[in-house]
Each structure stands twice: as C-alpha cells, then as structure tokens.
C-alpha cells in the first residue's frame, strides 16, 4: 500500500518524465529507510527524510532552464566512455544546496544565475568584472572531455564546455606579485539553503574558497567551465561558471564563482581549513597517497549500469594527466605536499 501510493500520484501529471519517477523513487526508498525506527523514535531526521514522501510539491517545482551553447568539439578524447548526462546532473557534491548527493539537483532549481557578476582583481594591471553574457561570449568556447576524480574515490567522465583560465588571466595581466589565485563561490544564504542551515550545509565554512598556484592556474588544462553536454551548466553543477582542474580531486573545482583574486600568499582553502590532514592544498590525484580514512589506489567509475557494473579501476597519478602537469611538481615531495 505504502509502496504504490506515490507512483499513482506521479502518474496523474501529464508531463511525467523518467527523471521525476526517478526522484520520487529515491524519496520513497529514503523514507522507507527510516520506517523501521521512524515510528518509534519520532526523530527529527526521520521527519525530514519522510517529508519528501508526503509532500508532492517540491519534486515538481520548475526545473532550471539550460540553453544550448556554440563550441568546438573535443575530438581527441572520444575514446573515453562518458558518464550519462542524467548521472552527471544528479550526483553532485555542492554543499551549498545540501550535503547529500541528490540534494543539489533537488534544491537548486530556482537558482538565479542572470544577472551575475564575476570579478577578477588583485595583483594585476587590468582588473575586470564580467557579467552573465560575458561568460559565454568573451572567449571562444571549446568542449573538453575530462575525467573527474572525487576525493571520495568515485569518478566520472564529463564533456565540459568552457575556456582556459589562462586566457581569462591574460586579459587582466597579472603582475609579478601574483603567486596564487583565490576563487570564491557566491554567498547567498537565501538562495543557497546549505549556507543558512548547518544540517543541510554539512558543517563547512561559507563562502566556499579554493586556490591554485599561478602556474597551475595558467596550465592549458585548467578550464573555466560554463556548460556540459552541449548546454549551459545546471545549478547543481556550478552554474553559471565554475573551475575544472582535472588532475586534482573534485573539491578543488569550485562552483558558481563570483570572485577570482590574484594574491601573493598561499590562500586558506575550505576543506584544507576543516581537516588539513585529510585534504591538502594541492590535492593532486595520487594513488600512492591515501586519504587517512580510505584508500586512493582505485576508484569506481560511474557510468551506466546498476549494482553489478564492474567499474572499479586503478587510479592514475595526476588522474592520468601527468604528461601535461607532472613537470610543475618535479622537485616536490608529493606525500608531504598532498
């Protein structure tokens, strides 16, 4: 009885899609997880977990509109098996919209990206501020099919669209004091529920900040992404503009950026501040250096297929981009500067 009710109500709407079925099933499963204890314990957790089950409106609240982009295709990486788009846009670490993987897709659909302002400032000769249209028109856009390796030991292959960060930085002409680059995510607790609700936001400090050394920022692989799978980014993936640093763990690739600052000193970054022994400033993908609580030697590649997908693969040094980036670290002890 309990099992059939939500799917019946879902079928009433005329514009039913696979995705909404999928979201509702997830909610059903979750609420059932607490069924055993929920009734007896009456806990706050079980209430919030089952809220989605009884509340039909949040699943149907309008979804964010992405628009097609013009770009040159990546013909060099066609052999990589891409993670299905539906998985790329529904499995996200973006604590500003909730610390669970499915929450960003569910809680970010009303996020406003236009108007937007991205300021590039600090140690440079021509600081500038880009508005929403500049993000997709100022530079020629290209597709880059990159591996994305999460520090949690899962990975994806994503066809990003964007431009090199180097091109953007050249425009502002960094001066000789610019040794590091500091990135900052939008701070807007009204739009980003994780920033106002500690339970939702996973207990990290906001605004989220990340940093790169200037040579890392200028490396041709370092991408400012404005889209994926041919369209502009959905909010859960970091709309309207995010960083993608494919040889580093995913948490370096900061989302929904409003500020890029050229600075003299190595900046304090969000996860590094929270647990420096677990998350280094460099955070280069390194199978030889384990996270203190789990191995980084291998990873599960998220593709299609259910539980039986044989997707555990060896993790490669620098996530397989050693040829392009290893030279930047040649005199560094990578188990010290992890």
């Amino acid at each position: 009885m309990l099992i059939k009710t939500p799917s019946k109500s879902a079928l009433k709407t005329s514009d039913i899609t696979d995705e909404s079925v999928y979201i509702q099933r997830r909610k059903l499963i979750k609420s059932m997880g607490f069924l055993g204890a929920g009734a007896l314990l009456g806990s706050a957790i079980s209430k919030t977990a089952s809220a989605g089950f009884f509340d039909s409106k949040d699943a149907d609240s309008g979804s964010f509109k992405t628009t097609p982009l013009k770009f040159t295709s990546d013909k060099d990486n066609l052999s990589l098996i891409k993670t299905p788009e539906q998985k790329v846009i529904s499995h996200n670490n973006f604590y500003e919209f909730g610390a669970k993987k499915n929450q960003p897709a569910e809680l970010s659909q009303n996020f406003k990206v236009n108007p937007w302002q991205l300021t590039i400032s600090g140690e440079c000769d021509n600081p500038i501020t880009l508005d929403y249209d500049d993000l997709t028109t100022l530079f020629a856009l290209e597709e880059r099919i990159y591996r994305l390796r999460c520090v949690e030991a899962w990975s994806m292959v994503v066809p990003w669209i964007g431009f090199s960060l180097a091109d953007l930085l050249k425009k502002v002409a960094p001066n000789s004091s610019a040794k590091y680059v500091l990135f900052e995510t939008l701070h807007d607790p009204e739009q980003m529920p994780g920033q106002s609700d500690r339970r939702l936001g996973g207990g990290i400090a906001y605004p989220y900040v990340e940093g790169l050394r200037i040579d890392e920022a200028m490396n041709p692989l370092t991408l400012m992404s404005v889209g994926l799978y041919g369209k502009t980014l959905p909010p859960q993936n970091g709309a309207p503009i995010r960083l993608v640093v494919p040889w580093k763990y995913g948490f370096k690739s900061i989302k929904s950026i409003v500020s890029i600052k050229l600075v003299r000193e190595k900046p304090q970054t969000t996860w590094n501040k929270l647990a420096a022994n677990e998350y280094g400033f460099y955070a280069n993908v390194n199978p030889a250096h384990d996270h203190p609580r789990w191995s980084q030697a291998s990873e599960r590649r998220i593709t299609s297929g259910g539980l039986f997908a044989r997707n555990r693969i060896e993790t490669l040094p620098f996530n397989g981009y050693g040829e392009q980036v290893a030279h930047m670290y040649k005199n560094m002890n990578l188990s010290k500067y992890y």
């Binding site: 999928y22 059932m32 314990l41 529904s90």
Partner: protein, 209 residues
C-alpha cells in the same frame, strides 16, 4: 474470538517482517535496475548501514518500553528485531565487499586493518554474528547463564556502531551526533545494569591478579 497475547505477538511479528523486509526487496530491485540515483552502490551501502543502526536501536528500545508499560509480551519480538539488525549489517558489509570493492579481497583486508572506522564496524559485525548464531533456542539453552553475558554485548555494539557512523562522514556530523545521543539515552535506561557489568569486569581483574 478472543484477541490473546499470542495474537498480539504474531501481529507484531508480521508488521516487523513487512517493515524490514519489503524495503530491502524494493532497494535491490531499484539498484539492480540502475534506478537508485547515479551511484546505486553508495545508496545501498548507506541504506543498509543506517537501516541496521535503526533496527539495533529499536531492538534496544523494546525492553524499556515493555517495563515502563508492563507489556511483557513485547520481549518476544526482540529476537526477530535482532536478527533483522544482523541481516541489515550483513548486507551492509556484503555491499561494501561485493559492489564497492568488487571482491578485491586484499584491498578489503587492508581497509579493515588500516582504517579505524572500518575496523570498529567489523568488530561490531563479528559480535552481532555471535549474537545471531546463539539466538537459536537449542544453543541458548545449552549456554545457560553465559548466554545473557554474551548478549549484554549489544550495548557495546551500539556504542561501536555510533562511533563507526560518526567517523565515516566527511563533515556532516549532525546525523551521527544525533544517533550517538539516542544510543546514550537508550543505554541510560540500563544505567544500573551497565554499572554492575562494568564493576564486575574490574572485580574479575582484581581477583585474577
């Protein structure tokens, strides 16, 4: 027809079976068909882990409720709840080994030994296994008094599991803290018994010296 105590127990057991077994069926049906989010592996691991903890806490809630409301028959469902706790924990471990590590045995043993939170979870699972095996009537009768001493480990298991949960998360500690508080609250109902248990361990140590 009179609604007897045995009817109540039977009804309760049917409810427990439905509430514990159907979610598992549904979970694996969706997971095998790739309808459980982008990463069904993570989902089944978390679901069975938290499910096992929920069931353990429910099991530990039975006797305080039975005492408080003088409903002694409730104690008759503890074994079923305990066995479901074990089953969920077993699936949790199996999910990790089969679907996450994909039977990379050396990695599995390495992780169990090297990662404290996994070590703790494994100890809890071994203890749960001992409780599950000794829940058979025949074994229970043979064990006599030592059966109760063994089954007192359920309190210790609850503490281990709450630490395992707390230690496994990246930064979102509110849920594990909440579970810790629940665990402590349930143990607090047994304050006198646990105090006696701890004292008896010390007394034994002193005597053996």
């Amino acid at each position: 027809m009179v609604f007897t105590t045995s009817h109540k127990v039977l009804l309760l057991k049917v409810v427990i079976h439905l509430a514990a077994f159907l979610p598992l069926l549904n979970l694996y049906y969706l997971a095998f068909n790739d309808q459980l989010g982008a990463d069904p592996v993570q989902e089944v691991i978390h679901f069975t882990g938290i499910g096992a903890f929920n069931l353990l806490l429910v099991t530990l809630t039975v006797s305080p409720i039975a005492k408080r409301f003088k409903q002694g028959y409730l104690l008759q469902v503890r074994r079923l709840l305990g066995l479901y706790t074990f089953s969920y924990a077993f699936m949790h471990l199996l999910n990790f080994l089969v679907f996450d590590l994909q039977l990379a045995w050396s990695l599995f043993f390495n992780e169990v030994v090297k990662r404290p939170y996994i070590t703790i979870g494994m100890i809890a699972f071994v203890l749960l296994t001992a409780l599950a095996i000794t829940s058979l009537d025949r074994i229970k009768r043979k064990m006599g008094k030592s059966w109760q001493s063994l089954h007192n480990y359920s309190y210790f298991i609850a503490i281990l599991v709450s630490v395992h949960f707390y230690w496994s998360v990246k930064s979102e500690i509110i849920s594990p803290l909440f579970y810790m508080v629940l665990t402590v609250a349930l143990l607090a109902f047994r304050y006198k018994k646990i105090k006696t248990l701890i004292l008896s361990i010390f007394v034994k140590n002193i005597r053996s010296k």
